[in-house]
Symmetry: C2
Subunit: 349 residues, 2 copies
């Protein structure tokens, strides 16, 4: 199931297994039943998106919310960034299966219909849609002060596979493949339950720069999630393209999702941006906690055969990702291994 | 925009125009930009669903939540009904444009991953999916106690138009058409901000039957929304089929949505179920307030040429709606007119 993942850090003392247990209880009741004359749900390794076959078209569907990042937006009364994130968190999951975004429906749950706030969310949403080359098909706005605190921002995105492209599942990954990482713009929209706890426990002043940072740290943390759908679309049809990883909630464990039968050796992971080092110092958190909670500088990755690397990098550079870097390679074995820190991640769920 | 509608009764003293203003502020920033090589958003009168053209397929997309009905579910600790509503509120909007449900993604926001509650939601969801002949493509589960109170249940449904069917928009409606209503199972999942206010102000005991009612009134109010997608699918291709109305939030004003250039004369609206009369007495509310807040006994309507009525009724009876009744007809003019109560509704938004 798309997006059915849980962070290591959950509020209220819950852990991933509590969420997994609850979800298993729900999904245990819901069995898929393929029927003739209807759409057909396809099984998709990795689970970034649900796939649906309709006539000659295959669709990918993702659904996700901005999560508790909106609470930071609220404390700063800044809304464009999270408006843009509504698009980003969804189209990046489409990107991970090689789908081109076709359109999006948003859901806004709020305590009050504040026009100025809505206008700024709309402005960010529009920027996200432009960056994702997509648009809004509809949405739902509910004023439900008894149900939400503040505001909840979510969406469902629908993608398609142009020109007979097959979904990118990681099934073609093999030993020797190169892992090309594309930098993130910051923490994106994951791990904010943890981030907010760190900010609170350390009484961090959001209006001031962090040590070594530029501008208010609140604004730095809010920076919109980088949108990777255009670059995934630009390389998805290249020969030798074997897989994509969206490094979202779960950090490096996302590589286990797409290459469960291989060992992903991240032996060239670049220097981690100082924002993450600062967050780590606030805990203090271990390297493991950091790498399984955050993207640590690389928000998306392309896995390709060695011979394909030059063409992949040229294509990435052409569509706005000249900053892509080789971060590792694939070997026989299992798990994700971060050489520099001696960290191994074996599971994803 | 699909589902961008507001009830007359909003919490916190907001009215429809406040929501309309906020939404206009958001949508003013987001302009659709059709692009070659991408999906194409189609304009759809009525706005029950967003339409998307992809290759040879046309898709319909709806997104909606169960709203504050979950708060009644919570006070009774009953979850199957609202689990089923997750499906119903979405596929009924697909039905209103003549789309067959292809699949659904759910979003659950909760304060805690309670396995028993999730299991019961899953059981209801599964029942709704069976009734809608659809299934789950994925979903998102977020444990966000800082963002929600209790639990929020929503979904996005994707529908398609089998065999080259064209979306049902109401464009073929003409004077003389007959309005065939299909009964509701109760208040469905609309108007619960108002229902809950009435229950609270009158200190209604949810565990006891209302005067003239059977079983606990809390259970009666929770009764799952009737699913109309199968019957809409069964009649959508019949010659003389001109329009559908999903009588959801906004009550009879939904007829203005699909027939804005005609007068819909509801001169044979059946006796209103006693549940609604009882709710009205709790206010007391006016007839107008009731008919623009609730479905008042008819949750879905089929508009068809007089010659088509027998075949429509036969088809409805075959797929589980032998209880369909003629409730009115179409004339030249505008607005919705409820003869019995002398009520006129001119606008929808």
């Amino acid at each position: 199931m798309a997006n059915r993942r849980a962070s290591r850090y959950l509020p209220g003392g819950f852990d991933r297994s509590a969420v997994a247990t609850a979800l298993a209880a729900l999904l245990g009741e819901v069995r898929p039943r393929p029927r003739p004359g209807h759409g057909r749900a396809l099984d998709l390794p990795g689970g970034y998106a649900g796939l649906l076959r309709l006539g000659r078209e295959t669709l990918a569907v993702t659904t996700d919310t901005v999560g508790t990042k909106v609470l930071l937006a609220e404390s700063l009364d800044r809304w464009e960034e999270v408006g843009e994130d509504i698009v980003a968190v969804n189209v990046n999951d489409l990107a991970a299966v090689g789908a081109r975004p076709a359109g999006l429906v948003d859901t806004i749950l709020c305590t009050a219909p504040d026009p100025e706030r809505f206008r700024r969310i709309g402005r960010g949403l529009a920027r996200g849609l432009r960056r994702a080359d997509s648009w809004l098909l509809g949405g739902e706005t509910a004023v439900v002060p008894d149900l939400v605190r503040g505001i909840d921002l979510g969406a469902t995105a629908i993608g398609f596979f142009p020109g007979g492209r097959r979904p990118v599942t990681g099934a073609r990954i093999r030993a020797g493949d190169v892992v090309i990482g594309v930098p993130s713009t910051g923490v994106h929209a994951n791990g904010f339950t943890l981030v907010r706890r760190l900010l609170r426990e350390n009484s961090v002043d959001l209006a001031r720069p962090r040590p070594g940072g530029r501008g208010p740290v609140g604004v730095e943390l809010l920076r919109p999630t980088r949108i990777y759908s255009g670059l995934a679309d630009a390389v998805a049809d290249l020969p030798g393209l074997h897989g994509f990883a969206h490094v979202s909630g779960g950090g490096l464990r996302n590589f286990v999702r797409i290459a469960p039968r291989w060992s992903v050796e991240l032996d060239r992971w670049p220097a981690v941006p100082s924002l993450f080092a600062w967050l780590q110092s606030l805990g203090p958190l271990s390297e493991r906690e950091m790498f399984e909670s955050f993207n640590m500088g690389i928000g998306f990755a392309v896995l390709a055969a060695p011979a394909a690397v030059p063409s992949v990098r040229r294509a990435l550079a052409r569509v706005g990702a000249p900053d892509a870097v080789e971060v590792g390679h694939v070997e026989r074995g299992s798990g994700v291994h971060l050489a520099r820190s001696g960290l191994d991640f074996e599971g994803y769920a």
